[in-house]
Symmetry: C2
Subunit: 455 residues, 2 copies
């Protein structure tokens, strides 16, 4: 009998609702706090920054299912449903009894899962009469996605791009410009927070935290302008649940259910997107699936950070978020997985880690690239350096299954492809990359500064 | 009722046979000639260069259907079937009554249709005991595809990459290396033909014709080594018919049949791949579909070349091919659509042009990029500069349909994406690109050299 490689759902099966796991969590995430008053924030408090609809989604602890607007779903059709793929080639190379599946979000026209939330956020901004939006981007995946989404819904967009990525990834900048966005290297002289950082550290190569400060500042100072974020926050993860909701149906087509679900971890949106629809069945239905967040050793907020209230940005413009964090002043090493260079984790994931409903592992940079090349050579797709962390964690679990002689079913999210990250692979193949483990004192120094922010 | 954007076939509907149009052509293509004896070649004459099975396919004028080996079909599952997409966004932007569809070959892991033939050629080489293969690549699409295919089937591969592309497209080189291929900029000092050209023109930026000479020379001098080609030849186009065969079923799902089929044109394989299965119904079933090959104004072999016997390469190593050609000494301008920079057309397409069964148009570079950006902004996908020529031709036909008030159905092949060609888009957006039309005397000079090759 012919074996099936890719499990495909029809366009009619694109989800009609996103899944809001908060409604089903026994221990809800702690509230966002106003940094001045330390009072729990209401949706209205977020209206000056975010679209109203996403502000409500951000704090919604009641509705497990949020309808996807027809216009957003229509745009999802450009690339959704995405394939669920059985990684026969990788299994064979590892000689493992494990069944490995991956959800291929790299087929989106921007090359990653980020479009799932970009289209939703741009749509809501447009609906509410916003004309301009701002954002930050690290690796460039989010900025690329939002550039396309802004074009689709007719919004003007300014993107603050972390300087090291701006320089390492000129194609990413070009892509955003091809879709009509304005792209600024961050830190920049165009904002107060950017100028302050550049004055203190003239050669600073930027961080997501800094870029967020700049984008927020521009949004607050521009008429009819809203800010958008590509990860960390609850509403972003909510939009990403289309990944897991489709995967659930596709695993059923394959006649399997995952023992382990794995995603790489930056702020948490792709990890939550693939995990939460399955985690639902752990919470409500007694399933025992393990969920593994794969973060880089150089930015180990889940494995070595603390659970604490902290800012989402460098300058301290955001609400205080209850998060596993390395401190908002933490400056991550310049690893190539730019999308994972962020100091904190979203509040939902942080609560779930605290409650031991999910796990985290850290992955060395060299192991991630080794896994990335293995995947490219066995499954054809060059993974994004971020996604390569999920692959490395998958390889580890598949080899464990082999040692134990157990046919585990492993599902991971291929959040994006690495076709625009070939400089990184070049350096890896040339032997020019190294591992970097953060010294304890570096972590302690930044975490100590959290005192007084509430815990 | 919900409108369908993407028409998807299941994996089980990947074609089981390729379509060999030669069997159905009233006027067969003229034979390949041995350059020394001027005698028609037999498959055996090609065995020293090509795999035996593809040599037979190359000259097969009898069998309309050639079975696809199970191992190749299994590998097609990595990305096939590919979607047929209704370009609602483009239609709306053009305000045209035309229905525009495109076959999205850019979803292959290497980003283009080239993998369809690369997998087949690598498979046959492996089957016949070959250990090493060589090839050339222009834009890098073919070399990338063959690198992956060689890895899949366990062959060693050396790729001669046209120097201008080698320098303009470092990511393409990295991709090939990530899949384990050796990549050499052409012209190089590693072959006699390369050294000869470099001696005469030290700054020569290379051409496909030169790179083919080098790859052929290396193959002929290496034990257990075969040469592979990414376009022009009949067997390559044969393998690409999976595109049109799938599209035919998908158009039926959409309830339509194309009035016009369009492909960009380099050597003819993607154009033939989408066209021939439909052209079959013109020949056998009385359909009246128009077929339009879109070539660049800077390399106008179909619109301004002559029909003549000519070499496929610069140095004159190949058999003589009956082709529309600008002469094998023609050095195309350095346009960004590197895959279209080739002096001649395959023998099947050339015969079909002669018999007026298909048409050709030439597209200016600036018009191709303008169409590419429009497509990116309306359909989300950044097209390869090559594919942008097909889009420009589609835009022209859709605007004609609007003028005439006729709801034509247009199908084009999106042969690849342009994510690795962002330098070109950068230059276009910066206003740094120009058009280039070849002077008549330049064409005449090269064509005059064909005398004595047979016509």
């Amino acid at each position: 009998m012919e074996r099936t490689k890719r499990f495909i759902l029809s366009e009619q099966e694109i989800p009609t609702q996103w899944y809001n796991i908060v409604a089903d969590m026994k221990n809800k995430p702690m509230p966002l706090l106003h940094p001045g008053t330390k009072q729990a924030m209401n949706p209205e408090d977020l209206f000056p920054i975010f679209a109203q609809e996403v502000s409500k989604q951000e704090l919604n602890q009641v509705d497990a299912w949020i309808p996807i607007p027809e216009e957003v779903r229509e745009q999802y059709k450009v690339y959704r449903t995405t394939p669920l793929v059985r990684a026969y080639g990788l299994e064979k190379a590892l000689d493992t009894p494990a069944h490995i599946y991956f959800k291929n979000e790299s087929v989106s026209p921007v090359g990653s899962h980020k479009l799932n939330s970009a289209l939703a956020q741009a749509y809501y901004c447009k609906q509410e009469g916003t004309t301009n939006i701002t954002t930050e981007t690290g690796a460039g995946q989010w900025g690329t996605a939002l550039s396309y989404a802004a074009k689709v819904f007719g919004l003007d967009l300014a993107v603050y791009m972390v300087k090291v990525s701006y320089e390492q990834k000129p194609y990413r900048r070009s892509l955003m410009q091809a879709w009509g966005a304005q792209v600024i290297a961050s830190p920049s002289m165009s904002t107060q927070s950017g100028r302050k950082i550049l004055t203190e550290k003239p050669n600073y190569q930027g961080s997501l935290g800094t870029a967020i400060s700049e984008a927020l500042e521009l949004a607050m100072q521009t008429p009819n302008c809203k800010y958008t974020l590509g990860s960390v926050l609850n509403h972003v993860t909510l939009h990403q649940t289309v990944i897991g909701l489709e995967a659930e149906k596709q695993m059923a087509l394959a006649g399997e259910y995952p023992d382990i679900v794995i995603g790489c971890f930056g702020g948490g949106s792709n990890f939550g997107g693939i995990s939460f629809p399955f985690l639902r069945h752990n919470i409500l239905g007694g399933k025992k699936t393990r969920f593994i967040a794969a973060e880089p050793s150089s930015c180990p907020k889940l494995t070595r950070g603390v659970f604490h209230y902290d800012f989402g940005d460098e300058a301290g413009y955001t609400p205080l978020i209850p998060m596993f964090t390395l401190g908002h002043t933490f400056a991550p090493a310049h690893i190539h997985a730019g999308g994972l260079r962020y100091h904190g984790a979203g509040s939902i994931v942080s609560q779930l880690i605290k409650d031991k409903l999910i796990e985290a592992v850290d992955i060395d940079q060299l192991d991630s690239f080794k896994a990335g090349i293995l995947f490219a050579q066995t499954e054809g797709i060059i993974p994004a350096p971020e996604s390569a962390h999920a692959i490395a964690a998958t390889v580890n679990e598949a080899l464990k299954a082999k040692e134990e002689g157990v046919a585990k079913t492993i599902l991971f999210n291929l959040s994006g492809h690495g076709l625009i990250d070939m400089t990184a692979y070049d350096q890896y193949l040339a032997g020019d990359l190294t591992n970097y483990s953060v010294p304890d004192e570096e972590i302690k120094k930044n975490i100590d500064q959290l005192e007084g922010l509430g815990s």
